[in-house]
């Protein structure tokens, strides 16, 4: 299939976050990660569990297969069989994430959502981040408020920041000191451009190009998961 869009590349990259997850609760925040999780379940990870964003676990056919109100989500968080893909107003080189406030927490220049579940998620189970607009304002040297815990502050036995998927690249923390490195750049994006849009030096070694979705994946994305092309609003071509 031709005319593969950047949004579709991002959906496939988000699907790949769940490789090997098995019977795990996928908690994607935002449209592209949600499409990615659903795509993974329809292809490589048929055992994934997905919620409707309220209190039910749904099969791919949208029938209810389970009940998961917030209190039980917290149980899963603590139990650990969950991979959350959160947004980030800021994320730094060690994977600290901020969704709480910009500026001084005592009197923020911009109040955001609050800590939400970020501290508990990052200390208990695998966490990835989705950044729809990769820029120096989001990929910062140091976050103003640590909501999600990065590698330089990690404690406890279960901390696991997996990857950051952006509209430009896929990044991870697979370096000796867990500083962020480029795994792959999306087709049409250069390593220089990714670095230019990032406030701290990225580790660059063996960078590949992010894979294209397969024909089967494209068909699922276009005809079944997102026929209205809402994905193009989140990541314009």
């Amino acid at each position: 299939m031709s005319d593969i869009t950047r949004a579709e590349v991002c959906v496939a990259a988000c699907a790949d976050l769940f490789l090997g997850a098995g019977e795990t609760l996928a908690s994607p925040m935002g449209l592209i990660p949600s499409l990615g999780a659903k795509l993974a379940r329809l292809t490589t990870e048929p055992d994934l569990l997905l919620s409707d964003g309220e209190a039910f676990l749904l099969t791919p056919e949208s029938t209810v297969e389970g009940w998961l109100p917030y209190r039980k989500v917290f149980d899963v968080v603590a139990h650990g069989r969950r991979h959350v893909v959160m947004g980030a107003n800021q994320v730094d080189r060690f994977g600290n994430q901020n969704i709480s406030a910009i500026g001084d927490h005592a009197k923020p220049t911009r109040q955001l959502l609050g800590f939400r579940g970020a501290p508990g998620n990052t200390i208990n189970h695998r966490t990835s981040y989705w950044v729809p607009r990769h820029s120096t304002r989001v990929l910062v040297e140091a976050v103003d408020v640590v909501s999600g815990v990065g590698y330089d502050r990690a404690v406890g036995p279960f901390h696991d920041i997996h990857r950051v998927v952006t509209n430009l690249a896929v990044l991870d923390f697979g370096t000796p000191d867990h500083s962020m490195r480029i795994v792959s750049v999306h087709p049409g994006v250069s390593v220089d451009e990714v670095q230019k849009q990032t406030s701290f030096p990225l580790v660059v070694q063996d960078v590949t190009e992010t894979r294209l979705p397969t024909d089967e994946e494209l068909d699922l994305i276009r005809t079944r998961l997102d026929p209205g092309s809402k994905r193009d609003k989140e990541v314009p071509q």
Partner: protein, 265 residues
């Protein structure tokens, strides 16, 4: 069995300046808005408000009722940010205890179990503890020796919750998909008040939906539409148009007084 029916104003009459008030629901879902409106109309001030916050937090900030807000987030769900909460924070008008959502639940559980604290991993490594130095950690006395957050009990003077059905004795039922944490709010509080869409003689539906029993409730208010504009499914969904009007007015101080007057009715 006692008849615990009250009016919203009688409930608010039990709330004194400086009290800690827990508000049930979640974000913009099943908030006890009739009780909140009565609180807005009252002279009560200096409150510590404990909430998985939605417009309840914003409105109480707007009315200057809040001395301190305890929350994991404040959001209107379909609208990410509450403008009044933002303003209160960005002008440092309120004190805050900002928690991880799971820590918040653990604090309510500790209060309900009459414990000084309960351990939890959430919070470690994050800035939750930096901005709340009153939160301490505790070391496991067992061989693992793990350091954990000792989440202190979130004790409430008053809990306000809204459910779908109740009887006049205080047994109450949720009919939507999620109980949220309304039972924990009641267990954590000295005085517990539930508003409901309808007071019934007997309950329909599975007994597991009877979230509150009368030991957990001191007063019952019949308030049809009493969660609006937040959702109270299956009785009604969120009134998105009214919520949008709220958010627009809250973003514009010139528009606010007119909206607020109309909203309070």
């Amino acid at each position: 069995m006692r008849d615990k029916r009250m009016t919203a104003d009688e409930v608010v009459g039990e709330i004194k300046d400086g009290m800690t008030v827990g508000i049930g629901g979640w974000g913009s879902r099943r908030k006890p808005m009739t009780l909140v409106k009565a609180l807005l109309r009252s002279g009560v001030q200096d409150l510590t408000v404990v909430t998985y916050g939605g417009a309840d937090a914003g409105l109480l900030c707007a009315a200057g009722k809040v001395r301190k807000l305890v929350y994991g987030f404040v959001s209107l769900d379909s609208i990410p940010y509450d403008p009044w909460f933002k303003r209160a924070r960005e002008t440092a008008a309120i004190e805050v205890l900002e928690l991880d959502e799971g820590m918040f639940q653990t604090g309510l559980r500790a209060a309900g179990h009459r414990l000084p604290f309960l351990p939890i991993r959430a919070g470690l490594g994050s800035d939750v503890l930096k901005y709340a130095p009153e939160l301490k950690t505790v070391r496991s006395p067992y061989d693992d020796g793990e350091e954990l957050v000792a989440m202190p009990a979130l004790k409430l003077d008053v809990a306000l919750v809204h459910l779908n059905r109740a009887d006049k004795h205080g047994n109450a039922q949720y009919l939507g998909p999620d109980p949220y944490f309304d039972d924990l709010f009641c267990l954590a509080a000295d005085r517990r008040y539930v508003s409901c869409e309808q007071i019934v003689e007997t309950f329909d539906g599975p007994p597991q939906t009877l979230l509150l029993n009368r030991m957990m409730v001191d007063g019952v208010v019949e308030a049809p539409g009493g969660a609006g504009f937040t959702s109270c499914v299956p009785d009604y969904p969120r009134d998105e148009a009214l919520q949008r009007s709220y958010a627009e007015a809250a973003s514009d101080l010139e528009k606010w007084p007119e909206f607020y007057e109309r909203f309070l009715g």
